[in-house]
Amino acid sequence: MGESSKGIFVGCASDNRVYIRIVGRGTFQNSQPLRRFALEKIEQGQQEFIADLGQCQGMDSTFLGVLAGIGLRLRQNGSAATVHIVHIGPRNMELLQTLGLDRLFSTNSETSPPLAEPDYHQLPDTDLTRLTHPLAKDETTDLMIEAHDNLIRADERNAPRFRELARYLREAVERRHTHKEGGR
């Protein structure tokens, strides 16, 4: 991993855990590759994810909603399955606490370190400074709706916080459907 590289890096280690390292920002613009990767790993039976926020400069609500989605999906699979957050700074910790995600994730510093450094590789199109193709509007809207639903499922106190955004996004989807039906 180059010093200047930003984005989302992932790796699977010999301890059978999935490692995610966020370098720079996690936003709605680079959430989708992480969502796809994590769902694939969960389908393959992986039960433990370690998210390293040591180099994470910030996360928006969509990105946090995608992380929450991973936690919620793992929780359905059993109590042992979880997301451990490591190297979390005070600012990101405050974000998790504000959204009630500190109760969904394990954020204690006692998570054992990897037995061997995982072989990290960068998820494609997660470096916000070098996105190679424009995001698809419909896909982005759907992702944001799902992510904010996850935040509300994780803690219902998030409902009023994201009410306006959720309403606007759902109206956008309705407009899209009406437009498609009108075009037939």
Partner: protein, 116 residues
């Protein structure tokens, strides 16, 4: 990362708010408090100058829509000025340009509140 800053400069009945740094979930409550204070004072003509803004999160944009709607109920609005291209792309992608008016000059933004 640049520290988030809010500087308010009244232009007659219009409130010009210059933003700099990152407007994320961590800093947004400060802008939220500023807008709530203005609304409580009956100040519903607001321009957010984004020239020095280097990031805006999805939830922040969503909340701005709420503030714009609230201001419009009182014949005011929350409008954006000098939006950097990378942020404009985000606003366009999310379709927010349909509900948030964007201006490229301060004169134009202030004049947009004047009765026609």
């Amino acid at each position: 990362m640049k520290e988030f800053r809010i500087d308010r400069e009244p232009r007659g009945s219009v409130q010009l708010i210059r933003l700099s740094g990152s407007l994320d979930m961590y800093s947004f409550p400060r802008l939220e408090a500023q807008l709530n204070t203005l609304f409580e004072q009956g100040q519903y003509y607001v321009i957010l100058d984004c020239r020095e803004l280097d990031y805006i999160g999805s939830a922040g944009l969503g909340a701005l829509i709420g503030f714009a709607k609230q201001a419009r109920e009182h014949t005011g609005d929350v409008r954006l000025l000098n939006v950097p291209e990378r942020i404009h792309k985000i606003i366009e992608l999310l379709g927010f340009t349909k509900v948030l008016k964007v201006h490229s000059t301060e004169e134009d933004a202030v004049a947009s509140f004047e009765p026609k």
